[in-house]
């Protein structure tokens, strides 16, 4: 309960002003394509040089929470996921925006972000020691099985058929092998110098999601100029709250999945949204509505990606080991003031630690308030004529891909992948499983190689990868997930067959 004692510090004038600046700035940075939460926090680090430790961290913490939520804005309105965390949000969010329900989608996304986010930070406050043990429990073999679990999601994610979903996933897995291999340093498929570092995930995201959409808009822009003016429906915040509470299952599954997955070092943030989306769909009674602008999809994805924020800091704050790139940047923000995360932070600088954590709690709420305020206005983006919209999205895409590491190479990669995806989409393939393959490939590969090196030196592969409770549990979940997909597929086919027999 120590944290309550330090709540006052958050509301001192300077701190609160910084919290506001961090939150509003974070929302804007998060909504800018290409600026991932990690980049946004890194951009703010120099400003914290001049501030006191606690104040600097308030700025960084607020920016972290609100950039994650801000990414939903471009995901919903422009179909450009700002970061891997927002991929799942595009699936239903953008469809809603296209139907004129952009305001509703944004309101739902901010409200569920706040619910997930507050839950995540509360976990951080109350269960840190327990969570730290949990975070450390995942070794290479477990992370490998976790990645395989992710692969099983691929087949059922946003595709017209399981086979096409798996094929998209395979393309993603192949794309992930491009570049220098991270462990051995071997060169693979580097047919252009700009591919040396592999395919940058942010650039790929922008290309795969935004470019096909731009091409489609250009393609039909001529004949339908101005014909397709979308009426943006007004939607009150009260209705949005009611709507969110109508789907408690999505909110719960999203929040819990996000918190658990966010904790796992090196994996969490990127796949929390997608896994939560998939799980919610599997448990939902309206399974078939997912992908067509169903509120549950937005709620689950956004609750998950903000729930991940709090737990993702556990390994950093307790063990001084950053579990994610964003945590690594925050570590820099602490070190610059001579504060070592871990016992030093909580024992010798409790004011800094708790003010930081409290500010993330207040930051979630402020983020939600500001998000709801802009939601109505931002949704009008949908009224912009398609030809202009296409140009704007294209400019933002190029800007976003370039800004990741100031490199034209990333822009080329983005453009090539985008054009490829445009044609693939016409054959019923979709971007989400492809991106999931791109994210999971390196995780599965690196952990398999590392695990097999440890296994060969110790107990042997069989014991290392198949022994132990956690391994067996994860394998069981993988099997269950595949069985469930197969069962659903068979059932759908039976239903179709019966329907045909009747008619």
């Amino acid at each position: 309960m120590e944290f309550i004692y330090y709540f006052g510090d958050v509301f001192s004038p300077v701190s609160f002003a910084l919290l506001l600046v961090g939150t509003i700035g974070g929302l804007i940075l998060g909504a800018t394509p290409g600026l991932s939460p990690t980049m946004a926090v890194a951009l703010l680090i120099p400003f914290t040089f001049q501030l006191e430790a606690a104040q600097g961290l308030i700025l960084l913490g607020a920016a972290y929470t609100s950039t994650v939520a801000g990414g939903a804005v471009s995901a919903i309105l422009l179909k450009i996921p700002g970061a891997p965390a927002n991929i799942a949000t595009t699936l239903d969010g953008h469809t809603m925006a296209k139907k004129g329900d952009g305001a509703k989608a944004l309101q739902l996304s901010f409200l569920s972000s706040a619910v997930g986010g507050v839950f995540g930070v509360l976990l951080l406050i109350f269960l840190t020691p327990l969570l730290a043990k949990w975070a450390l429990a995942f070794g290479p073999s477990h992370l490998f099985w976790l990645a395989i679990l992710g692969v099983t999601v691929i087949g059922s994610l946003d595709s017209s058929s399981v086979v096409k979903g798996l094929l998209s996933g395979c393309i993603g897995l192949w794309l992930a092998t491009i570049g220098f291999d991270d462990i051995m340093g071997a060169q693979r498929f580097i047919f252009h110098p700009s591919l040396g570092g592999g395919i940058n995930i942010i650039a790929a995201l922008i290309g795969l999601f935004a470019i096909p959409q731009v091409l489609t808009m250009f393609a039909k822009g001529r004949q339908a100029s101005g014909a397709e003016v979308i009426e943006v429906k007004k939607h009150s915040v009260l209705d949005a709250t009611k709507e969110m509470l109508r789907w408690p299952r999505a909110l719960t599954i999203g929040t819990i999945t996000g918190s658990i997955i966010g904790l796992i070092p090196g994996v969490g943030g990127q796949i929390a949204g997608l896994v939560a989306y998939d799980q919610t769909r599997k448990f939902s009674k309206h399974r078939e509505k997912f992908g067509t602008g169903h509120p549950e999809g937005v709620i689950a994805a956004e609750a998950a990606n903000n729930a991940m924020v709090g737990p993702s800091l556990v390994p950093l704050l307790t063990l001084s080991i950053p579990g994610s790139p964003t945590a690594a940047v925050l570590l820099g923000g602490l070190l610059i003031h001579g504060i070592f995360p871990g016992s030093d932070l909580f024992d010798n600088h409790p004011d800094v630690a708790w003010t930081f954590i409290n500010s993330m709690l207040i930051g979630q709420i402020l983020m939600c308030v500001f998000g709801l305020y802009v939601a109505g206005m931002a949704a009008r983006v949908a009224q912009v004529p398609q030809s202009i919209m296409a140009a704007v999205v294209l400019v933002l895409s190029v800007f976003g891909a370039y800004s990741v590491q100031s490199s034209m190479g990333d822009v080329y990669v983005m453009a090539c992948l985008g054009v490829m995806m445009y044609f693939l989409e016409r054959f019923g393939f979709s971007a989400a499983p492809l991106v999931l393959g791109l994210i999971l490939g390196p995780i599965a590969e690196a952990n398999f190689i590392q695990g097999s090196m440890i296994a060969n030196a110790t107990d042997g592969m069989g014991v290392y990868f198949l022994g132990g409770t956690l391994n067996l549990f994860l394998i069981a979940v993988v099997v269950a997930s595949i069985a469930y997909s197969v069962w659903m597929e068979v059932r759908v086919q039976k239903l179709v067959a019966r329907g045909e027999a009747k008619s």
Binding site: M39, M184, P193, G197, P322, S343, A457
Partner: protein, 319 residues
């Protein structure tokens, strides 16, 4: 009158060309860091360049650009092949990383592609074990490795980086075979493997290990450097423990420019940059973060690069 103006103009242009080097730098300078934002190299690069805009330093700010990927290869490839050699594009180097990578091959750079300016830091590799490990000295580790050849697993941040070099040197010095496990995700992933007990030990950066040890999650058994570190006065060096391991694996960080940069610019940078590193504010921020400073001039760095090239060629032969 005309003659006077012409004369003045001539004098001015003459003056301008000779001033080109003297007036350097005229605009902000860019510095490429080949590791991601938030990493140790990036963090230190930002601190040591924060006073660049001061009058007593370069008089122009230095902006950091990150080009991470493939253990630094992406950034250094870019720097060797595409960066402008005009003095406005600097880069941070990590020795022995880039030298080891160039010996291993598959990259577009070697020590001949770059001109060192000055060195700011030296982060030695240390050997760490979990806090509850039965090992209490390097002798314990070596004894175990001798009794169980190839079975002692220890982590480090990838192949052909300082940690790997230290691992090779330890194995060579003790004449044992151990299982070096390279991790993806830098020193922090390697440290996590040690803390979580996935491996029996690990090689890591002194700065990160110092933090983890003060947190009580690891024990530091030895420093792979010529002298003990001021941060860890109680931890003996490898040499004190009878292992012939020199400072070849120490992660030296500094600033370099591409080959072909004008000599006057190099001279100017080589004179001013070490002074910039000596700034008191820089030193206090660096020591607060547990980052050991080690300022070396251009001549000293050239000598160090050449020495490293020779040692590493020998060590990596046959790998």
């Amino acid at each position: 009158m005309k003659k006077l103006i012409l004369g003045a103009a001539l004098a001015l242009t003459g003056l301008a060309s000779s001033l080109a080097a003297e007036s350097y730098p005229e605009r902000p300078i860019m510095m490429m860091v080949s590791y991601g934002a938030g990493g140790a190299t990036d963090f230190q690069a930002r601190i040591v360049t924060m006073t660049a805009g001061n009058e007593d330093a370069l008089g122009m700010p230095i902006a950091i650009i990150n080009k991470p990927g493939a253990g630094g290869r992406v950034g250094w490839n870019w720097f060797a092949s595409q960066a402008d050699a005009d003095g406005y594009t600097l880069a941070a180097y990590n020795v022995p990383h880039f030298i080891a990578q160039s010996i291993k091959g598959g990259v577009q750079y070697s020590t001949d592609s770059f001109e060192p300016i000055a060195n700011w830091g030296a982060d030695p590799a240390v050997f760490v074990v979990g806090a509850d490990s039965p090992f209490n000295s390097m002798a314990d580790v070596i004894d175990y490795a001798k009794a169980n050849p190839g079975k002692l697993t220890f982590s480090g941040a990838g192949l052909f980086v300082g940690h790997h070099i230290a691992a090779l040197q330890i194995e060579k010095a003790a004449g044992v075979k151990m299982a070096y496990i390279p991790t993806k995700g830098g020193g922090s992933a390697a440290m996590k493997a040690v803390v979580a007990g996935e491996v029996l030990g690990g090689v890591n950066n002194l700065s990160d290990a110092y933090r983890a040890a003060s947190n009580g999650s690891v024990k530091i058994l030895g420093v792979a450097d010529l002298e003990r570190s001021e941060f860890l006065p109680d931890v003996p060096t490898m040499m004190e423990q009878g292992l012939d391991v020199d400072n070849s694996s120490v992660n030296f960080r500094g600033i370099m420019v591409p080959k072909g940069t004008p000599q006057e610019v190099i001279d100017k940078l080589a004179a001013d940059v070490p002074k910039m590193f000596e700034n008191k504010r820089v030193a206090s921020k660096m020591s607060a973060g547990g980052s050991p400073m080690h300022i070396m001039t251009r001549a000293e760095v050239q000598e160090m690069w050449a020495a490293r090239q020779a040692t590493l060629e020998e060590l990596l032969k046959g790998l």
